[in-house]
């Protein structure tokens, strides 16, 4: 290898710097310059050796049992997620996929939809594509696989699912964000769905992830936001770790994690912009991303999104969680456009001004101050972040003060949701974890490929990890991704479904013994009918809780839109106030607790 003296190298470098100034377009060198292939891995903390993995096998025999793994007792136990090869040579093999809990047939029982991944061979038609699956909830933990009848197998590389009744016909529809062409499954109301994405102009190409429905312009019709992740050309793939050392392969200097070759990306790979589809009066959609100012010209790596009221001015705002790039917070200006205030609001970065690898998003008022807060999951060797909403669009990173910092550092987080698992009136927090690099299991890096989930109990705004009794669900480890929350057995305790990479899902039944009273609230609005963007404020004694009807978030997943309030010892609702997405506020009389009520806008509650 020919070497250069330091002086010559300095000279060459200076020239290179000068040449790359943007004001010098006319000075292009005549000789052809070999372009530098942009590749990259994930930048993390300093290498360290640990004597334990810290992400598996952490148990507490004295802890109470909160969740029982009932997966194999249900039909969901036969579902197998699959995404690419086991080596995970490419980034698109690692982040799938989402899960939705929603009542597709209107029978009052929440059903489960699990997305599947795919393989390169399947996308090329060389093998059968993995199938997504819809499970109808028959009650008493019986589920029926109705995928074929419903026509929702997808058979594309699935990532995100967001539920919304876009045509206000009373039946919940699904947008499925794919790597490839995305789908809009229209619910026909008879147990079947029809993909109308092309017909309605929302068949987004590229790599679509965690979408969100919301009526941002207040016309009573749901609109759709879809984040884009990374641009990938299957015919021109980035270098893979399997190539290292082979003739013509890449240097080991490329795409490393702690010095070990791994898949490339997202850093170093071109990102994708985001898309906002406005629903027109005729039910078709138009791309208004640029006009609205949410097209993401910087092409950040988008994973999760949610329409939600951030500043409570009656206009639906939008948050986008991005991987390895700043998060975006769009404030609705009320004229069809948004102002991006990620930096000044404080949610773009963590408290130390660092960009993080944002994955999942929990939306909820964890401290019962009437304002919606965010919890965002991140990569390992970094902490998840809890952003407290201080009002007036200011957020403060309170992660470590709240007790969520140090404990999350070894974990690579995905789906996250606020969930009052013990019905005490304070939102607890659940986090699904799992690494992206299988090679982590071959090293003592203090982390692992499959990881335990994390449950945190909310103690008046401070969080404490709930211990994992050996052999119970919290003690198990999965390569988790998507997460959805819903009361699957209508017992007033919130259950969970986790979509695990290349594995069967995990169905977690809430069996917590010491729980308070509760109230479930279903909202039916005048428009949008499924009340996305509506807010319920419930008061018992001195506690005033807030719950928002949200589409999307979590991580490429959908929670059941039935609002769930833990009431603690209270047996009487002092006040229930609904702020409807379509406008108007309504006080609702509620008699009794420990039940689910349905409130129709302008008609009060069906007790």
């Amino acid at each position: 290898m020919k070497s250069f003296s330091p002086q010559r190298r300095l000279s060459f470098g200076l020239v290179a710097v000068l040449l790359s100034f943007s004001l010098l377009p006319a000075q292009t060198p005549q000789k052809k310059v070999e372009p530098q292939k942009p590749v990259g891995g994930v930048s993390t903390g300093a290498p360290a050796t640990y004597t334990s993995r810290r992400t598996v096998g952490i148990t507490d025999p004295n802890a109470p049992v909160v969740f029982e793994d009932v997966t194999d007792k249900t039909a969901l136990g036969s579902f197998r997620h699959r995404s690419g090869g086991v080596a995970k040579d490419y980034i698109f093999e690692t982040p799938s996929g989402g899960v939705a809990i929603f009542d597709y047939d209107g029978d009052g029982r929440p059903d489960v939809y699990l997305l599947n991944g795919s393989t390169v061979a399947a996308t090329q038609g060389k093998e059968k594509a993995p199938r997504a699956a819809l499970y109808r909830n028959l009650g008493n933990w019986k589920f029926e696989d109705v995928t074929d009848k419903a026509g929702v197998a997808n058979e594309r590389w699935g990532f995100g699912v967001a539920v919304g009744d876009y045509d206000n016909d009373g039946y919940a529809d699904m947008y499925v964000g794919n790597f490839g062409v995305s789908r809009l499954y229209h619910n026909n109301g008879n147990g079947t769905f029809t993909d109308v994405a092309e017909k309605l102009h929302v068949a987004r190409r590229g790599w679509s992830t965690g979408a969100s429905w919301g009526d941002y312009d207040g016309d009573g019709r749901l609109d759709l936001f879809v984040p884009g992740y990374v641009q990938i050309d299957l015919n021109n793939l980035p270098p893979s770790p399997s190539e290292v050392g082979k003739d013509g392969g890449v240097s080991q200097n490329f795409c490393q994690f702690r010095g070990v070759p791994v898949m490339c990306g997202p850093r170093g790979l071109p990102g994708e912009g985001d898309t906002l589809y406005h629903q027109k009066a005729d039910g078709t959609f138009e791309d208004v991303s640029v006009k609205a100012g949410v097209n993401d010209p910087e092409k950040y790596y988008g994973f999760s999104s949610a329409f939600v009221h951030v500043d409570d001015d009656k206009l639906l705002d939008l948050i986008v969680v991005n991987d390895s790039t700043p998060n975006q917070l769009y404030i609705n200006k009320g004229n069809g456009t948004f102002e991006e205030i990620g930096y000044p609001s404080g949610v773009a970065l963590n408290e130390n001004g660092r960009e993080q690898a944002g994955m999942g998003l929990a939306v909820g008022d964890y401290d019962n101050d009437g304002r919606v807060d965010f919890h965002i999951t991140n990569f390992s060797d970094d902490s998840n972040v809890l952003y407290h909403n201080d009002g007036e669009t200011n957020f403060t990173d309170v992660t470590f003060q709240a007790g969520l910092g140090e404990v999350s550092i070894p974990f690579l987080g995905w789906g996250t949701s606020f969930i009052d698992f013990d019905n005490d009136g304070w939102l607890d927090l659940f986090v699904v974890n799992g690494h992206v690099y299988p090679v982590v299991d071959a090293h003592q890096w203090g982390t692992s490929y499959a990881q335990q989930a994390l449950l945190f109990r909310n103690l008046n705004g401070k969080f404490e990890r709930v211990g994992a009794p050996p052999g119970t669900a919290l003690a198990m480890a999965w390569p988790g991704r998507g997460l959805a929350v819903g009361d699957l057995d209508d017992d007033g305790r919130l259950d969970l479904v986790i979509n695990n990479l290349d594995s069967k899902p995990a169905v977690l039944r809430n069996v917590a013994a010491a729980t308070g009273h509760w109230l479930g609230v279903r909202l039916i609005g005048k428009g949008p009918r499924d009340a996305i963007g509506s807010i319920a404020y419930l008061t018992t004694g001195k506690i005033r809780q807030r719950q928002d009807v949200v589409s999307g978030a979590v991580y490429c997943s959908q929670n059941d839109m039935t609002l769930h309030f833990g009431l603690g010892a209270a047996t009487k609702i002092d006040k229930l106030e609904i702020t409807w997405a379509g406008g108007g506020t309504e006080l609702v009389d509620v008699t009794g607790v420990d039940k689910t009520i349905t409130i129709t806008q302008g008609k009060g509650a069906k007790q």
Partner: protein, 180 residues
């Protein structure tokens, strides 16, 4: 599937190409950069875009600049430009030291240490140091940083003016840059 050329070949090709154009480049730069405005200030908008390179060469390869994490200031009729680059293509050893580029077209002091005109790499490290590296990854200077706990909204990289000096921040840590 992308087959990468050996790094050495790429480097030689790039450097040779750059040398060919070098003589034409330098005078052009001198004409275009507005150095007659004496006001000390942090550059923003088009003024910033104009002086930030889109990519930067450092020890064997060029990496794209993160424009959102770039900053520049004019002090004493000279410019100081810094920016973070996408270091994901570098080895872990280099990434641990190198975060981006640091260019000065006037003699300055950084944390009280002298730094001549030139283009360098830089890195803020966890031990509270700010390191300037030459383009071969050799350390030129190392100074202690100050932690600004009161900073309201830290950014990955930014500059602020303090009189005739500049603070270069990475998060809450900063060093003071002054004309020499």
């Amino acid at each position: 599937m992308c087959a990468m050329k050996p790094r050495q070949t790429t480097l030689i090709t790039v450097l040779a190409s750059l040398l060919v154009a070098a003589s034409a480049v330098v005078p052009t730069l001198a004409q275009k950069v507005p150095d007659v405005q004496a006001t000390e200030q942090v550059l923003t908008g088009a003024d910033l875009t104009r002086v930030v390179p889109t990519s930067f060469y450092f020890q064997g390869q060029a990496a794209p600049t993160q424009m959102r994490n770039s900053a520049a200031a004019r002090i004493d009729n000279h410019h100081v430009v810094a920016g973070m680059v996408d270091t994901s293509g570098y080895s872990a050893e280099i990434r641990a030291r190198y975060q981006g580029f640091f260019i000065t077209d006037g003699a300055i002091t950084v944390g009280g240490e002298s730094l001549p005109i030139g283009a360098y790499g830089f890195g803020f490290t966890n031990d509270g140091k700010f390191n300037i590296l030459d383009l071969g990854n050799n350390q030129v200077l190392s100074v202690s940083t100050t932690n600004d706990k009161a900073l309201r909204r830290p950014r990955p990289l930014m500059m602020t003016m303090e009189g005739r000096t500049v603070r270069l921040y990475a998060g809450r840590d900063y060093v003071v840059i002054a004309p020499k």
